[in-house]
C-alpha cells in the first residue's frame, strides 16, 4: 500500500485483558498505555499529546480521562484532550490525535480508552429527566438496549429470511475466533444449541446473542510517518481513514435511544442509511474500496448486528450476509473474515475502549502477529461501530 500525506503511523498498540476485575479504570488504562508504549518502543517522555476516551460511569476522573491517564503515567507536560462519542469514543479520540499530527502540531500521541462497567442492563443515570430520550425510553416504554438490537434482528428474519440459528452461528464463529485471544474475556467454544437453549431476552435474541459489558482498556500510539521513519519503522500499519460522520436528515432508521425517527415525508428517504454512510466516508477518505478489504472488526453488540454491519460496509449486498455466514466466508480462512478477535461476543463491551480495541486487533492482523487467529496476508482492515445520539465510526488501516 503506498503512503499518502494524510497517513499517520500506528507505532504501538496495547490492551488490558477484558473481564470483570473490580479495579479502577485508571489501572486498566495505564496498563494498556504502558503496553502500547513498550510495543512502540517509544518513551513516555516523547509523547506530546494524550487523548483519553471519556467514561461516564466513573466520576469526575472519567470525565477528564485524558488528564487522568496523563497524571497516572506521571505528568510529562504533554497536551491533553478527552473525547466522548458513546461507542465511537475511541475512534473520535484517535481522530483528534490524528488531526493534530497531520496538522504538524504534534508528533507522538497516546490514545487511551478504559472502562469499569456495572452489572446487567446499561441503564440511564439516576434522576428524572422528562426531556431526555435516554430516560424516557425506559420510563415510557421499558425499551432496553437489547430490545433495539432485537428490532434490527427481527427485520432480518422477516425481510431476508434469516433464522435464529443464523444468529447463533455468528456467536459460534466468534467464540471460536476468540479462543486464542489473550485479551478476550470469554474463551470457550459455544454451539448453536447452546445459544438457542439460552434464555430469550428480547425475541428473537437469546442471552448468548447479546454482548455483555466488561472492564477493559486499549491504547494506541500514533505518530507522524516522519517520526515513525526516524524511529526505524519503515512500513508501519497506517491509519488511512477515520470516519466519524453524523447522520443525514432525515435519519429514518430507528436508533437507540430514540422513540421515533425523523419524518421523510417532505425531503424523501436519503440515498444511504447512517450506518452505510459511516463506512462509505472511510472508503472515500482512504481511496480504498470494500473489494480491497481483507479483514473487518465490526460492532457485534448482538449477533444479528454483525450481519447488518457486513452489508453496511458493502462487503456484500443487502440481505446477503447470511449467505456469506453460511458459506464460511466470514470465518477465519474464509474470503472476508469478520471479527477475528472474537468480537464483542468474546469481549463484552467496554465502551470507551472498544473502538480502540478494534484498532489494536487490526494492527496485529496487518502486522501478521495475531497469533492463533491470523488472517493470512491481510493488508487492509476496516472497523465499524455505532453508538447513541448519532455517533458512529469506522477506521480504515492498511500496510
Amino acid at each position: 500500500m503506498t503512503g499518502s500525506s494524510n497517513d499517520v503511523a500506528v507505532a504501538g498498540v496495547g490492551m488490558h485483558p477484558w473481564g470483570k476485575w473490580g479495579r479502577s479504570f485508571v489501572t486498566y488504562g495505564v496498563h494498556a498505555a504502558r503496553a502500547a508504549l513498550a510495543d512502540a518502543d517509544i518513551p513516555w517522555s516523547d509523547v506530546d499529546l494524550v487523548v483519553g476516551g471519556e467514561t461516564v460511569r466513573n466520576g469526575y476522573g472519567g470525565y477528564v480521562a485524558g488528564a487522568t491517564f496523563a497524571q497516572a503515567l506521571g505528568w510529562n507536560g504533554a497536551r491533553v484532550a478527552t473525547s466522548y462519542a458513546a461507542c465511537a469514543t475511541g475512534a473520535q479520540a484517535l481522530d483528534t490525535a490524528r488531526a493534530r499530527i497531520l496538522a504538524g502540531m504534534c508528533e507522538v500521541a497516546l490514545v487511551v480508552g478504559a472502562d469499569t462497567t456495572p452489572k446487567g442492563f446499561l441503564a440511564p443515570n439516576a434522576g428524572e429527566r422528562w426531556d431526555d430520550p435516554d430516560w424516557l425510553r425506559f420510563r415510557l416504554l421499558g425499551m432496553t438496549n437489547p430490545a433495539y438490537f432485537a428490532l434490527y434482528a427481527r427485520r432480518r428474519m422477516d425481510l431476508f429470511g434469516a433464522t435464529q440459528a443464523d444468529f447463533a452461528q455468528v456467536k459460534v464463529k466468534n467464540a471460536r475466533h476468540g479462543l486464542h485471544n489473550p485479551y478476550a474475556r470469554y474463551r470457550k467454544e459455544v454451539s448453536v444449541e447452546d445459544v438457542l437453549a439460552s434464555a430469550v431476552v428480547s425475541d428473537p435474541l437469546h442471552l448468548l446473542d447479546i454482548c455483555a459489558t466488561s472492564d477493559g482498556a486499549a491504547a494506541v500510539v500514533l505518530t507522524s510517518v516522519d517520526y515513525a521513519r526516524r524511529h526505524g519503522l519503515d512500513s508501519p500499519v497506517r491509519v488511512k481513514a477515520v470516519s466519524t460522520v453524523t447522520p443525514t436528515f432525515p435519519h429514518t432508521v430507528l436508533d437507540m435511544p430514540n422513540l421515533s425517527t425523523d419524518s421523510s415525508a417532505v425531503t424523501g428517504v436519503p440515498e444511504r442509511t447512517f450506518k452505510e454512510s459511516i463506512g462509505r466516508a472511510a472508503y472515500e477518505e482512504a481511496g480504498i474500496g470494500p473489494e480491497d478489504v481483507d479483514v473487518a472488526e465490526v460492532y457485534d453488540l448482538s449477533t444479528a448486528l454483525e450481519l447488518d454491519w457486513i452489508e453496511d460496509l458493502a462487503l456484500c449486498g443487502r440481505g446477503e450476509a447470511e449467505v456469506l455466514l453460511r458459506a464460511g466466508d466470514t470465518t477465519l480462512g474464509g474470503r472476508i473474515p469478520v471479527n477475528p478477535s472474537g468480537g464483542l461476543a468474546c469481549f463484552g463491551e467496554a465502551v470507551p475502549a472498544q473502538a480502540l480495541a478494534q484498532v489494536c486487533e487490526l494492527t496485529w492482523q496487518l502486522r501478521g502477529r495475531a497469533e492463533g487467529r491470523q488472517v493470512e496476508g491481510a493488508r487492509v482492515g476496516i472497523t465499524a461501530n455505532q453508538g447513541l445520539f448519532g455517533h458512529g465510526s469506522s477506521v480504515l488501516l492498511a500496510v
Binding site: G142, L151, R154, D203, L205, F249, L259, D262, S264, A265
Partner: protein, 152 residues
C-alpha cells in the same frame, strides 16, 4: 384519577392519537414535538402547529421484553409480566416506537402488518392509572402478506 404518563404526547378518548408538531415553513412533522427550531437542515422555520398523527401505520419491526427493564421503568405488576414492543411506520413518514397492546405478543406481529394506536394503563401509582400509547396489531397471527417494506 386516570392521567397520561407524560403530558401532551397523545390524546385520550374514543380515537386516541399521538400529538406531534408540524413546521409551518416546510411542513415536516416531528414526534415527539419539536419546537423552537426546525430540524430539517434546509429549513429555517421556527413556528410549529400541533398535529394529531395518523392512528394507523405499518409495523417496521417488533420484539418483547422478557426481563423486567431497569428503572426508571415502573413495572405494572409484581411478579413482572413480559410485554411486546413495536416500531410502527406512519403515513407521515416517521417510525414511532410503542409497547404492544395488552394480550398481544410477537407471535401476533409481522413486519409490514397494520397496527392501530390505542391508549392503555402503563402503571398505577398513588394518584391513579398512568396511561400510555400502545400499538394494537390489526390482523393476528402470521397471516398477513408482507407490505411494501418486504420489497425494499
Amino acid at each position: 384519577m386516570t392521567a397520561p404518563a407524560i403530558e401532551g404526547w397523545f390524546t385520550t378518548g374514543a380515537d386516541p392519537a399521538l400529538l406531534g408538531t408540524r413546521c409551518t415553513t416546510c411542513t415536516t412533522v416531528f414526534f415527539p414535538k419539536a419546537d423552537g427550531f426546525c430540524r430539517n437542515p434546509a429549513c429555517a422555520g421556527e413556528t410549529f402547529e400541533e398535529v394529531a398523527l395518523s392512528r394507523r401505520g405499518v409495523v417496521w419491526s417488533y420484539t418483547d421484553a422478557q426481563y423486567q427493564p431497569p428503572p426508571p421503568y415502573i413495572p405494572a405488576s409484581d411478579p413482572y409480566e413480559p410485554f411486546a414492543l413495536a416500531a410502527v411506520e406512519l403515513p407521515e413518514g416517521l417510525v414511532v416506537l410503542g409497547q404492544v397492546a395488552r394480550g398481544y405478543g410477537v407471535a401476533d406481529l409481522r413486519v409490514g402488518q397494520e397496527a392501530e394506536l390505542v391508549v392503555e394503563t402503563l402503571y398505577t401509582d398513588e394518584s391513579g392509572d398512568r396511561t400510555i400509547w400502545r400499538w394494537l396489531p390489526l390482523t393476528s397471527g402470521h397471516l398477513t402478506e408482507l407490505g411494501e417494506e418486504a420489497d425494499q
